[in-house]
Symmetry: C2
């Protein structure tokens, strides 16, 4: 848990992967903050609020570690990191509005304090500034990759909204978590390698590294939704299922219990029945579904670690290994 | 009036400026349409709906005419036109949602048919695709200009929302119409020149041309809000004032009638009183405010025409002149 100042505890794994870039992350935050310098004061205040709400800055950290390892210019990595984190922030602003979420990471969301119109426009402003930052890398392929990733993320959210509720389908699940999370991890790691003096082969390894830890990250998120401490996760246990989203632990449970009436009810809108879903969540928690899902996440981390094998030993490579391991060890 | 098929009449001025690029506009629409090829079917349907709702495609037309006149590659102009029109469409999608508008150009808005979440995400998707198209021009300065313009537009909308209601201020008005309309006209015309083999001086002239017709376009929009035929404008007369937006005709009226109690009430929220505002709208309509505002718009068109003087005679230059004149002659 990184928000030591907020929660009064420190996760040693996190510190290990962060330490090589602690100072550089401050530059990323500074770059993010400066994006509203000429904007309306209320917009500046909104950005401050979003920055203060923090988060682990795991995406910029990934970009900085990969780029530093491969000898990229720091300036481009800071710009890339700010672009990626602002894009991520923009999608969270619109997501929280759409979901009506009032808290994120224990802090009030923007939509909890602002009107929906102001929240929509703030998200749009962050998209605009993220695109500007991506252009500021002066790297056209990176720019294209960036806008394609944004399209992937948004198309994924729409697809989830329209056709994924109640669907028990592993392929659909993997597509969803790619759009939702892995695509941006993948893009960040790949882009950091693209602005480095790295071979095509190394760029591809770094792309795969980002993809694998992104997939693992989302699977662990989905596991924590079932087994995490509610106070740390910050939302009711099993909230995905109550929203009709069948994630990996639920898929494992459904595979082992195909005739469970609650499972059978899912594709027909059974997820709208709170009582049945609470029972299903309890049953999933009592099963080994979370353990099996975690094994699958660990497999992705193993794949990620294999992507690092051909790179030279360095402090950054060690930190990337720790980052990959942290993803499956974290509690929030 | 360009939507001849919808409204059963044809505006000859419009035809004159459109004719040199009629076929090329079809390429722009094709490029726009293809942006959802790999997206969710409902998203494809939404884009079809938005494209069918039409509009004058005045921005891509501007880009095509300027670029053709200056010898730009058609491919880049089509890409630029699609980027600009999609960006414009994205802002309309979010605007209509924010305003709760149910009709635009006589067609149901997206938010009239879709949920707010789906509408927010559709706008986001269009932003993403617009950014991708801008990157597809393979022209970094254009890409930066594009994302800066998006930030200007959104910041302008937020500023309008937070601090412009009831404000009778010409400087504030000009800033608003720059953000809302002129910035995108300016960007389009400038970008079309940037991808042409044109001198810096010509690029600056084209930037100014776009700026001037953009300003004129918005002033005329604001005049039509008072004096247009309600059926053609598609919203109640004086709707801006009823939303607290004091536009140029109202500013002229306020300058001539500083002691009108309805005018005096505006900065103190008097615009929320429907009865008083209806009276104020009637008084503005009965005054010469619209005529004075139109003269100001015509001045901007004169400035625009002066920007063309140093370019060689060509069919495109004639069409740009007609486009500039159309802007003050149009009825919708």
């Amino acid at each position: 848990m990184l928000n030591a100042s907020l929660h009064g505890e420190i996760d040693l794994n996190a510190v290990t992967f962060l330490s090589p870039v602690t100072e550089e992350i401050k530059l990323v935050e500074e770059r993010m903050r400066s994006q509203a310098d000429e904007a309306h004061p209320d917009l500046r205040a909104a950005l401050e609020h979003l920055l203060a709400a923090g988060g682990k800055r795991i995406r910029p950290t990934l970009g900085l570690l990969v780029g530093n390892m491969l000898g990229a210019p720091l300036e481009k990595l800071v710009t890339l990191g700010a672009a990626v984190e602002l894009l991520h922030t923009a999608t969270l602003v619109h997501d929280d509005l759409i979901d009506g979420a009032l808290l994120r990471r224990g802090m009030p969301t923007l939509n909890a304090r602002w009107s929906p119109p102001a929240t929509v426009l703030t998200g749009d402003f962050l998209f605009a500034r993220a695109a500007k930052l991506a252009a500021d890398t002066d790297h056209l392929p990176l720019m294209k990759l960036f806008s394609e990733t944004l399209a992937t993320i948004v198309n994924g959210e729409l697809t989830q909204m329209f056709t994924s509720r109640g669907l028990i389908n592993r392929d659909n699940y993997y597509k969803r978590i790619y759009a939702k999370t892995a695509s941006l991890f993948e893009m960040t790691s790949r882009a950091a390698a693209m602005v480095s003096p790295a071979s095509e082969e190394t760029i591809e390894s770094m792309r795969d590294f980002g993809y694998q830890i992104g997939v693992a990250f989302q699977i662990v998120d989905d596991i924590l939704d079932f087994v995490g401490e509610q106070s740390a996760v910050g939302k009711p246990l099993g909230s995905d299922l109550l929203n009709g989203l069948v994630t990996l632990p639920a898929i494992y449970y459904a595979e082992a219990n195909p005739n469970d009436p609650d499972v059978l009810s899912l594709p027909n809108g059974g997820w709208t029945n709170n009582e049945n879903m609470t029972r299903l969540v309890d049953n999933i928690r009592a099963s080994d579904a979370a353990k099996l899902a975690m094994r699958e996440a660990e497999n992705h981390v193993e794949h990620a670690l294999a992507c690092l094998v051909s790179t030279e030993a360095s402090a950054e490579r060690d930190a990337l290994e720790n980052l990959a391991k942290y993803i499956v060890d974290r509690k929030v």
